[in-house]
Amino acid sequence: MRFGLLDWAITLASLAATVWLGLLTRRHVGRIEDYLVANRGMGVYVGTASLVSTEIGIITYMYQAQFGFLAGFSAFVVGLITIAVCFAVGRTGFVITPLREMQVMTVPEYLERRYGRRVRVLAGVMMALGGSLNLGIFPIIEARFLTITTGIPPRYVTWTMAVLLLVALLYTALGGMLSLMVTNYLQYVLLAAGTLIVTAACLSRIGWSGMTGAVVEHMHGRGLDPFADLGVGPAFILWQVLLWVAFMTVWQSAAMRAFSARDAATGRKVFTLTSVLFLGRAVIPMAWGIAALAFFFARAAPVTPLPGETPAAEMARMDAELAADFKPLLDEGRLEVLLPRVDRLETLAEAARSEPHAQRARARREEIGMVAMPWMVAGLIPPGWMGLVMAGMLAASVSTYAGYFLGWSAVISQDVVSPLLRRELSERGKLRLTRATIIALTAFIMVWSLVYEVPGPAYFYLQVTANLFMAPTLLAIVLGLYWRRASALGAYACFVLGAAASLAYLIPGTGLSVGAAGNLSWGLAFVGLVAGSLLRPGRPEPAAGPGAA
């Protein structure tokens, strides 16, 4: 295997440095405000490093590369939407400025002020559910990256992921947001270096012309025009715009950076600077996915029919052969063997209008797309450099776990458990509750990642689970801020209906497409909020006791 002793030394040293830095901060944390928002002392550059390193994990690079592999350059449109939305939020302070000025620590805290405690708890439950389901598939996908690039045998990779989760758990539980900011700085530097090394390797070994050639030759007319391509049409783009607005404003781990900023202006600057990095967060790994397509097609032999074989017979033979050897070849990384066969099967199935064959071919292409980038990285990056890349990837991974642990546990402890206790906890009690929630969340993630099988591309699963609460939360906040008639009944209907559409996608057999589920979630949440508010435009519910946070 190419991952040598020097690579391991670099990787482990970077992890050790991260833990050491994280633990340095624990003695400074005395109050829940220190713990969740670092006493609101975050500056622009540390804030940017913290936000970006939290929102980039190995999982991000895996699903973005898969999306690039499957959709070609059309996938880049997501990066353009991201930078536009993030920049607009940063410049205008849309939602983040009013929330920062209210000095809230979690997003549902605002909902209690506007609609009442029960809406806060309902929103908290939805956010905790969506956030945990979202985070739940990270380890299983990241484990595949580690197995491929380091050569760790699959039977040990679960333990490796457990160690990474425990590293994140250790310093996050002890140091909270302060620990996150300091470690995120180091992690950002490492992940940026790793990202640029892989990009340089793609450009020097495959080249831009190799990448464009692969898309033009092997994507059958797709991969360039996002409007014409299946899956990246106007409905998809509309959904992405809405989703990114919500992500930048009400996604707890992102919003916490705005809440932790020194002031509202610093929060806006962080989001403006982040917009540039978020363009790279999308486009760069998508380009790696395209580079992987070029890398494996360049090594592939053409697939031809047997003498005298009809297209129908060839399609049946190809399908049967793939059913027998697809999994072992995929596990060995023989993608140059699989890719042309899957491509041929898809072509034959589309020509014969055989939907079952076409579906199987697409599913196999998705599976190849998920592992193509790591196999390419393992083949492209020389020893020594690989250690730096791995240090960057693990930094990205651990920082994401740490940021999400803190974000979702803050919601669970402050917005669900604490309000339900109906009594004010002491500062020590709040800290203990949040730390206990982080430990419970870590345990859930480990179990969920072992039992759940992702339906369709990971990219869509992640966005749909996020949409479970992002559509209703954003609508409830925006209409709460700008529409006086918005009421608690409207907010309940908004959360229940908005979540129902996303849940329908996650339940196997419903047949709801990802775009339809996304747009339906927004539409139903909006209808629910407006209809409920018009039916009963009452005053906000009184809080049933002292505030939780």
């Binding site: 400074h28 622009v44 950002y188 360039l224």
Partner: protein, 48 residues
């Protein structure tokens, strides 16, 4: 302008701006980390 030209521009702008802003964050962020530590060190420790 063709799609390929547009995507080439998007890609190179992404990589260039990622490298540039990352360098900026690395240099100026270091100073902020030190300030953050100093501010917490100066703050009287509050025991809950």
């Amino acid at each position: 302008m063709s799609w390929l030209t547009l995507w080439a521009i998007v890609f190179y702008v992404s990589v260039g701006s990622f490298a540039l802003v990352s360098a900026l964050v690395a240099v100026l962020g270091f100073r902020e980390v030190r300030e953050l530590f100093r501010s917490f060190a100066e703050k009287p420790r509050e025991r809950p």
